[in-house]
Amino acid sequence: MKPMRLELQAFSAYATKQVVDFRHLGTQTLMMISGKTGAGKTALLDAISYALFGESSGGDRPESSVRSHHAKEGVLTYVDYRFETQSNTYRVVRYPQQKKKSGGQVELWRVGSADDEEGELVASGKRDVSKEIKMLLGYTVDQFRSVVMLPQGQFRRFLSAKTDDKAKLLSTLFHTERYRRLQEVLNRRALDLKDAQSKIHDGIAHCLNVARVDSENSLIEGITEIKKQLTELAPALKVLEGGVQGAQDALRRAHMILEQMKEQAALRTAQEQHRAKADEMQAVRKTVQAARKAAQLQGQASELAARRTESQQAKLVLEDARTKSQAKQNMHRDALEALEQERARDSERTAASHRAQKLSDLLPLLGTLKELETSVLTHDDALDELKKAQNASDTDILGIDDRITEVKAVLETARESANELAQAELSVETAKHMLRRAQERIHCLATLEELDTRLIALKEQQDACAIQIAEARARHAELYETHLSCYAAQLAIRLVDDVPCPVCGGLDHPAPATSDQDDPGKDAVQAAVRMVDEAIKAEEKIVSDHRSTKEAQAKTAAELDIIGEALGSFADKTHGEIKAHLEKQQVRLDTLQVASKALATHQSALERLQEKRQTTEAHRRATAQKIGQMETDRAVLKARLKERRNQLPADVRSTSQLESMIAEAAAHHDTLAKRYAEVEALEKSALAARMQAQTEVQERTRAFTQSQELVERTILSFENALNHAGFIDEAEYASARRTEAEVDHLVQSITDFDEESARMDGRLEQLDKTLAGIEAPPMEALQAAEREATEALNTALETKTHLRETLSPMEQATQRIAALRTESADREREFGLVTTLSRVANGEQPNAFKLKFDRYILAGLLDEVLLHANHRLHGMSDGRYQMQRKDPSRKRRTEYKHDRRSQAGLALEVIDSYTGKERDAESLSGGEGFQASLSLALGLADVVQRQAGGVELNAMFIDEGFGTQSPDALDSVLDTLTGLQSTGRLIGFISHVEELKDRIPAQLHVHKSSTGSRVELRVR
């Protein structure tokens, strides 16, 4: 499970929506979650755990408490977590049950990428999602807490888990189900084989039961006896079968003779009946002859019928033509009447024509009227325009007057400004001058202060010099005195009585000078003199300096006075105040300059305005003149319009009305004329139709007469032919006619009759010859003999069948029993093998170690995990600790016993190389326990990743624990975690340890505030 993106809202410490995109980590795999206590660091881990399993990371916070206390009402609590497995990307969204809302909701989606909102819904609802997640990740929430998310204060879960819990975890992570299944299959097989054996036993008993014997021996005896009886029965059966055959043959022959005799008698009766039909057949022969003659007259009869049909049709056509001719006569009469009526309406047509002409004459007058009206309207519009223009001009003039007043006022102000300008320039110059003076004053004051300081220093130096001089003088005096006394003593040594003393000249030397001091020497005394001189010189220099400084002070004070006078009224103002004054004056001057520059501009503006006013007034006057002219023209037009209107009839008001009246009159005239023409044409065509119909009637009458004559000629010719053929009249001819099929049928019936007569005669002759001299056979005796022979045979066959039926199940039973016996032997052997394997797998004899197979496998896995875990722990503890499985029966403790898996307990202990002894893993201190647990979790992940199975352990989250580490150990632990970079496994941890912040480039920082926390992922 590689985390891709976590989104949460109103969850725990977070009031608003927070998004952590783990992809921003890039190549960083170590991530520190930092923030103040209570900020919501653990809540981030809780969110992942909650999304996946519906529980918090430590399992100690109920689902009802996940909602943030800071969250605003109406903001939904949810967690949306996206992660990647080895094969796919998934998104799980979980909403807890929320106040006034429907129950909690959870959905698991398979998505194309971590940014997709939707994909394929894999499961929804708590139970289904839990099931899917367990399948996807390969572990349960408890196991998740043992190896993926080490909760605060619970990181030892796996280290100190009970053997059963460890077994469960290892079994889940490593899919060791199959090993337990192997045991189960072995056990089941042993049971199955046992069952099979007892079933075989039951099977044999069932076979004997079916064969109705007590034992297998009596079964074999019975089979032998029956087989013997069957052998004896065979020859007797053959004899009986021969007897039956003979009797059946005799009976069959007798039956044949009897049948022939019956046929002979029947034939004789049939022959007599056949002969009785001979007269009937003679009449048929005559009918055939008459039909053949009639067939020869067929052509002439057909022609007669055709002529008669033609004559009939000609009659029908004639009658039709007569009816049509009558109708045409009637139509012509009607048309003549209508024409007479229309001729009577001549005066009406003339009146309509006159009215149309009269109305047309009024049209030009109306045109003139329309022109006049348009002209009046045009004048009205033009007048309106002109009046509007006049009003606009008035408004313009008023506006220009206002503007002129304004400009005049501005002009006045500008003039005033120009007058003030000179005075302002003077003020600025004065202020600038004063500012320079103030600057000089500051300079002077600073000089004075410096001079004061220097004077004080010089005074101090002078005092020091004085002391030096005094000291030098004293030193010189002392040295000189000592030198003198030493010199005296030296001289005294050389004193001899009676030789005059070089000092006092006395010859007597009562008290010669002595000295207990060393002579400092002449040079030292001279040096002291030089020092005194130097000190005095130094003092003189200082005094001279002091004097010159004083002079400088006086000069500066005088300068200050001059500046004071120059400043005059500004004397009591500071430099800053003067500067401010100057700036103010400068601003005023600038303003005035701008104003006076604007003077000329305003002047020209005023002139332009006055000019514009004159132009506008001229324009207004012109407009007023135009209005007068226009009104006069309009009055003339109106008078003319009135005059023209009076010339029109009262009911004519407009051209369109007049035009429609003209159209109406013309239309009336046209209607009348058109109708007359139509009626006239109608009469003409009716007359033509009448004449044509009469001609047709005459033609049809001629045709009918001709066809009548032809019919009569044909009848005469047909009657001659009938007489010649022997028919008395046409009726006899008609009754003799037969179709060809009827004739063929009659001929066939004559042939059939003749053939049947011949057949009967032949057969009767043959039978008479065969049966000559033969008596009827004794049927009953023959039948009785056959029945007897058959019964004897049947009895013998029944005996045989009975023997076979008894034998068959007995033989089947023996075969089945033999097969069962073989199978039983095989099962027995398998049972032995399986039982041994099963017992060994279950830790029973011959398994001398009482070790179960699945436990053996788990112990092996745990050893492998420990191998990897120890590699990590070795690094973290500088080689001090090593973990191993506790072995209750251990003799040599220094080696793993790879065989037998050391009785396969799964409890762990630690070897401390400082003491060389094992310790219970429980007894490790907080820091050591953390290292051991972390190593174990990493070891588990190492080994799981080597296995192919879909267990997702490529991320790990550690909630605290670093605080328990000593400084040295912390570095070692971090080195180990840093070394995991290459595995690509994401390690996220929560810690308060300050210095980790600088060392871990990837920081998931939680900012705490009173309105809820905020999370930020920073990667350096």
Binding site: F174, D863, K917, D998
Partner: protein, 383 residues
């Protein structure tokens, strides 16, 4: 002529496994103070090139020790001190009150605006001393506004350029804490950040007359350029430093900025050594200074009970021990146990043979194969 002393990587408050080193650290610092006291010519300034404390939150005794050291230097010996925070220090905590005592104590701060020269004068004029704290590249990027700052190397480039722009004197000296390319490392220098070495190029330092470096614990010049130098740590702080000779460096700079160097080794502190051998031999040998800090490498293959306690009866500062011959036991090299390399059949065969002390017969194997086949079938149908 001007004279400087360069020390670095004090790591005050550091412990060596369970042993506190504060006493040894006090002794070493005293040797520096004694040198200053008696030096002729006088020492003008002491340069402390980072990692003053071992941790961002140092123990009080470490703070007190440093306080006494500074007081003696400045008030009693009238010697100026330049201090920069290293990667182990918290720059903010260390530079507390910086600026209050500018003329005597110069504390480098994180803020780029404060990276101005600290001047020392001798008869030839001024010397500019620049003190750079341990650089945090993102912070330097933010302060300088230069997006090109991506790592420690580019950060150092920007920082040095900034310093040189501020320089007034012709002689220049730099105090810095960094991992300069081409130097030898130990187990004590923690990676500057996880996943990167943070190395910087020596080329940045060519404009300085002397560069006083901190971070690496072995005293050494950088790329054979004597004037760019690591002073090395105050004490041996890990087993990998057992062969070091720890010292402080005295620098004399002449009118042209040319330097003469002398490394003065520390004398009075206890040594840190590695002793390798069999337990019995180690217990019976005559050791010249059993009071030293000692890492033991035992050649014994079987563990010895209470070995640490026993060693401590003779070597009271036995720091740590490893069984060097047994280390390979824990290496991942061993693959015979690898679960996945064996099939179910092979696992069961091994199991059978080891718990019955007997080989599995041919018939039993055949039966096992059958069962495993069935197992395969049931596994398939169950999934």
């Amino acid at each position: 002529m001007a004279r400087f002393i360069h020390i670095a990587d004090l790591h005050l408050g550091r412990t060596l496994h369970q042993f506190r080193l504060i006493e040894e650290q006090a002794k070493a610092l005293n040797e520096v103070l004694e040198f200053v006291r008696s030096a002729h010519p006088k020492v003008d300034a002491l340069l402390l090139a980072g990692d003053i404390y071992d941790r961002a939150l140092p123990p009080t005794e470490a703070v007190e020790l440093f306080h006494r050291f500074l007081m003696t230097c400045i008030h009693e010996l009238n010697t100026r001190v330049v201090v920069i925070p290293g990667n182990h220090d918290s720059a903010e905590r260390l530079s507390f009150a910086a600026g209050l005592t500018r003329s005597t104590l110069h504390l480098a701060r994180s803020d780029m605006q404060t990276w101005k020269p600290f001047q020392i004068h001798d008869e030839h004029g001024a010397i500019d001393i620049f003190a750079l704290p341990f650089l945090d590249p993102p912070a330097v990027r933010a302060m300088s506004g230069q997006d090109a700052v991506r790592d420690h190397n580019s950060a150092m480039g920007v920082a040095v350029t900034h310093c040189l722009e501020q320089s007034e004197a012709s002689r220049k000296l730099l105090v810095a804490h960094a991992f300069v390319t081409g130097c030898s490392v130990t187990d004590s220098e923690r990676e500057l950040y996880v996943g990167g070495s943070g190395q910087v190029s020596a080329a940045h330092f060519q404009s300085f007359d002397y560069v006083a470096l901190g971070h690496l614990h072995r005293p050494q010049p950088v790329s054979q350029q004597a004037h760019i130098r690591y002073a090395g740590s105050l004490l041996k702080y890990s087993k990998s430093e057992a062969d070091h000779e720890k010292s402080f460096t005295v620098i004399d700079m002449d009118a042209d900025g040319a330097v003469t160097l002398e490394a003065i080794p520390f004398q009075t502190v206890r040594d840190l050594r590695i002793l390798r051998g069999h337990f019995d031999a180690l217990m019976t040998r005559e050791d010249p200074s059993p009071e030293d800090f000692i890492f033991f490498e035992l050649l014994d293959t079987d563990p010895i009970s209470d070995v640490m306690a026993k060693l401590k009866t003779i070597y009271p500062r036995a720091v740590h021990l490893t069984y060097v011959e047994r280390v390979t036991d824990t290496a991942i090299a061993y693959s015979g146990l690898e679960h996945k390399s064996l099939s179910v059949r092979e696992h069961f065969m091994r199991f059978f043979e080891s718990v019955t002390n007997d080989e599995m017969s041919h018939d039993h194997q055949k039966m096992l194969d059958e069962v495993i086949q069935e197992l395969g079938e049931t596994l398939e149908t169950s999934t």
